[in-house]
Symmetry: C2
Subunit: 175 residues, 2 copies
DNA sequence: AAATATCAATTGATAAATCAAGTAATTCGG
DNA sequence: CCGAATTACTTGATTTATCAATTGATATTT
């Protein structure tokens, strides 16, 4: 890149003298990972992990949900999710059953046991949440969420098809 | 407890009628995952994954780095990272060697090959980045990063060990 | 209606991540 | 100094995630 960064804070990679700490998406990923780690610690005593917890939250949000729906909303590959669901069913947290009008889709439903567990976990989740956003105003929080959604929407439309192996014309200096 | 959420848009769990889509931390995790997924797709043709790429970025930022340092900055468990590094060394991307004055610590350095690879990958990373923040103003981006850092800092201080800590932390900025 | 394509979800083989325990190097307390 | 404690990392055993087919069910084409 030439020098678009001369009169602003650095917000992208490939800048001279650039450090990762200033890179938005690095901060995004790292903060998310820190949050996941924190939740994972708290979830241990409920014999849950972030994956199972996320599934329960999604089901709490909308139940029943199909496997594909859960995979999309949790950004998880379907084979991975299938196996998570198998474990959760063995633990009595969910029930899986084929949808009547289309037997390809599998509907996932929370059990009463899962509802009970989730209530307890949510209390802890709430505490961690409150700690996380301490000192963040409501306006700031709203703006933050808006940016998150925008970034995600932007990433969603993925123009990735052309397979280029050799790094020949990769430098995007022109703009 | 904070009851800040009762007369505003929902920003946390455990509220009646609440949906995950409004929950900040869900959006945080989901957007980060989407970004990782997008990067992973792009990295494939370089025979890299997000983990290796993150290590290279961290090394690009500061080289050499110790294993522990890389683990902390990439929010990865050390055993996991050790094995990533072993693979990367086999692929000729990094070199590991014991630090002279303290032979417990292992210094990780990029090879010239890795530098070449990274340059090519960064170009693609830049494209994805630019797509990600399309329509996001610099001010918005700055505010976003500030919130991310604050949230991460908040999560950093664990609830169990923060008891003896002074109420006004020196580092945290008020405005 | 039979053949073909498409779709949702699962499975088999394999790679990767994780916990617990282990090793080697350094520091600390007596 | 010597032995216990700590640090920095690695390894063994196990769980979990992922890719590449595969199954079973519905749509579409001819």
């Amino acid at each position: 890149m030439a020098r678009r960064a001369k009169s602003q804070a650095k917000i992208g990679p490939a800048e001279t003298g650039f450090t990762l700490e200033d890179y938005i998406l690095y901060n995004l990923v790292r903060t998310a990972a820190t949050y996941n780690e924190e939740m994972a610690k708290a979830l241990k005593r409920f014999r849950l992990d972030t994956m199972k917890w996320r599934v329960l939250m999604l089901l709490n949000d909308k139940s029943p949900s199909s496997v594909g729906e859960l995979a999309r909303r949790s950004v998880t590959k379907m084979p991975t999710l299938t196996r998570v669901l198998i474990r959760m069913e063995e633990e009595g947290l969910i029930v899986r059953q084929a949808q009547q009008d289309d037997k390809r889709v599998v509907q996932v439903t929370m059990t009463p046991k899962a509802v009970t567990v989730l209530r307890a976990v949510q209390a802890i989740g709430q505490k961690i949440f409150e700690r996380a956003i301490e000192g963040v105003s409501e306006a700031e929080a709203a703006a933050f969420t808006a940016t998150l959604k925008r970034v995600r929407a932007n990433l969603g439309r993925s123009p990735y098809e052309a397979a280029t192996e050799a790094p020949s014309d990769l430098k995007a200096r022109a703009s």
